[in-house]
């Protein structure tokens, strides 16, 4: 099962205990949209809970900070990057480091963060 961090996903009906555990682990739930994991989620524990509840391996993917697109596809580092242990956004192929996007990255952030 593939889950995009920061995106909504659905799960088969969970038991009360698993559901409570996911809420405690910082997973967001919306009746209409489903579940969502973000920077506030304890990803390691949440992935373990979901894996145990649905009985299949969970593959996490992250979004591009600049454009919001899913960014793990074709990434050179995909084999060495543990998505549960790194921060929840990255850079996609269109905004990859070799394109010298540091200034764009800074601009994207400074537009949102208090300065």
């Amino acid at each position: 099962m593939r889950i995009l961090i920061g995106g909504w996903f659905t799960l088969p009906r969970l038991g009360r205990e698993d559901f409570m555990l996911l809420m405690k682990q910082g997973v967001t739930y919306d009746k209409a949209m489903g579940f969502k994991m973000d920077a506030g989620t304890d990803l390691e524990s949440a992935v373990r809970t979901i894996r145990s509840a649905v009985g299949e391996d969970i593959e996490l993917t992250v979004r591009c900070f600049v454009c919001g697109k899913e960014s793990c596809e074709g990434c050179y580092y995909s084999k060495v990057c543990d998505r549960r242990k790194v921060s929840s956004m990255c850079l996609c192929a269109d905004h990859s480091p070799e394109k010298g996007i540091f200034d764009l990255y800074v601009k994207t952030l400074s537009e949102t963060v208090v300065s």
Binding site: D42, S45, S52, V80, V86, S87, M89, V113, V114
Partner: protein, 391 residues
Amino acid sequence: MWVEKYRPKRVSEMVGNEEARMAIGLWLKEWKPGKKAMLLVGPPGTGKTTLVTLLAKESGMNMIDLNASDVRTKDKLEKRIGEATKTLGLFGERSLIFLDEVDGLLGRSDYGGVEFIKDAVKETQNPLIMAANDQDADEIRKLGSSCITVRFKPPPPREVEMYLRKIAEGEGLAVPNDTFQGYVVRAGGDLRHAINLMQSGGGSGEAAFKDVSSSVSQGLNAFFEAADPASALAGLRSVSLPPLEKVREIHTCVVKSKLAPEKLAAALEVISRADVIMGEIGATREWRLLRYLDSMLSQELFPIIKGENVRYVSEDLPFPVLLRIWNDSKKIRELSVRYASRASTSGASARTQDLPYIFALCASKDFRRRLEQTLDLDETYDKFLAKEAGR
């Protein structure tokens, strides 16, 4: 050092933890008395302290900074920051109060520190940010309802590469693509380590791809054979090992050398002091002081062993075996702490009396699964527990 030269000067120049940075920035912008405090949780070196310092600077606030592991009791906290939480500046300006290392706030027993913080959050006239390394610490759980918790993690490898490229551009280096990737992979995604690797190799591929063991031997031999303390320091800094392992390697080399007894005693005295200092740093969580360890060794140990033909020798046990032993000990320590807290016993009793039985029960997959869930262990424990059960 490039790490210092290219230290971010604005919040937007940091890399990684974008959502966390935005959340904290917005929280500070909208802060007013009565709002919850902010709790930043994450491993050392992920930018928590840097972020708060830069935020205070950018928003023109005076920062009142306190390491909570130094001030554990309610009385001391009251004395140090009590007034600051209740008053504004002369012209009504707010200060940013930062309590670092709150997981070291109380140690083993409660001296009222958590209650003080909970009260301070309700009454403070100034925004309060706290930082902790260990999200599972009891003190952190107790603070939960008074705070908005934001997690900090290391940046993903692609962002580390982006920062390396920015530095290379600043230094006018032409570094091939695969060399950047080599630095990132070899540094295990650690930004500071990757920057140091790039600096030590001057942007050449050598530092990115040479194997770690040869770099350790070369670095340590450069330290032992240096002409002066400055070259010794450069040699030591090129050894890409964690401080504790670096001191262990130096200890092995010194012990196995043919130093005269009085020189050996003096050298071991310095190494022992380095070990004590590392212990103190660990206990007080002043990780930033680790950066002075290399200087200390090159100023104090190097003059003793200079010209004494000390050379790099590897441990008798092969590194992978040592690594396995260290990893297993670490797991047992962590497991006993978690078990002890759950079973209301001491860590030592858990280790010596209970764990052998627990390991025996771990032959059952179902038991292992329940144990992992109860103690919130990650999946690497499954293999470890199965192995221990088979002993």
